[in-house]
Symmetry: C2
Subunit: 138 residues, 2 copies
DNA sequence: AACACAACGCAACAGAGTTGCATTTAAATT
DNA sequence: AATTTAAATGCAACTCTGTTGCGTTGTGTT
């Protein structure tokens, strides 16, 4: 597992307190985290706008990928293996607690048929249901 | 193709101007429409809150299904064949113009593997790329 | 140490969606 | 046709996510 500072350098991003903190939290998380989630769990002081901009930059750089939950809230997850566009792993979204999990399973984009003239770029698969904790309670 | 008033009756929903107008527009549309899209294309007078509530009610009744676009905007589409949960058709989302199209292709939920203790309810597949008009222009 | 540009903090803003409550209306009942 | 009632509506105020502009600070480089 690569170090936080090394990753920032590789993407020509300046090494700041917030960036290191955000990346550190997300690399340790097995779930996608929202702006609000991160606000709560970050130790350092920061401005909310700066966090939005940090997440954008990380997404554009391909360090994070963004998943939209059913309420339209963006969740971000660390991208361990770079997304090529040909393969995309699926996400599990809990209908009870809203948590987003990256699944191992991948879906092939080539096989999907689209109308004439349409060009495919990415495929995004969301499985919705109840996570282990929420399924146990109900 | 069933009539608008008939559908409302079957779901025990009162037959109002706005509901008839919304359903009528969406049944004719081959694309998912947002609150804003509908606001623009509806002929009748209505309050924006009422339209939000109308869309919620239609979704809960299974008359419409909701698709989240990459900007977190909800788009609604008429559900011709009722969704059983076992099958779910995919959606194409244009990265340029943001339009949402229902695709014919269906994906089987059973085959997807999820972690121990997780229970699956629905599968949601989004293909992103460029629609025929936007692909032609670039 | 000096420099340049990227990143930051702050304030103000935009837009989607929600909540509470009083008023109206569809549709059932008489 | 008049009465009744629960459902639907309209309005105002609000919450929350995300954005924009701009002056200030800080990282990385020379
Ligand atoms: Mn993921
Ligand atoms: Mn659809
Ligand atoms: Zn859960
Ligand atoms: Zn398009």
């Amino acid at each position: 597992m690569k170090g936080v500072e090394e990753i920032l350098q590789q993407h020509s991003l300046k090494n700041t307190k917030l960036r290191k903190a955000v990346l550190s939290v997300l690399m340790r998380s097995d779930k996608g985290l929202s702006h609000q989630d991160l606000s709560r769990s970050l130790e350092v002081d920061f401005d909310r706008v700066t966090l939005f901009r940090t997440l954008h930059v990380f997404e554009e750089s391909g360090i994070l990928h963004k998943i939209m939950d059913p309420h339209g809230i963006a969740k971000y997850a660390y991208t361990a293996k770079p997304v090529t566009g040909k393969h995309c792993h699926a996400h599990f979204i809990c209908l009870e607690c809203g948590q987003v999990f990256c699944l191992d399973e991948e879906f092939p984009l080539e096989e999907v048929k689209v109308p004439k003239g349409f060009s495919k770029k990415t495929i995004d698969v969301q499985i919705k249901g109840y996570c282990n904790k929420c399924a146990a309670q109900s």
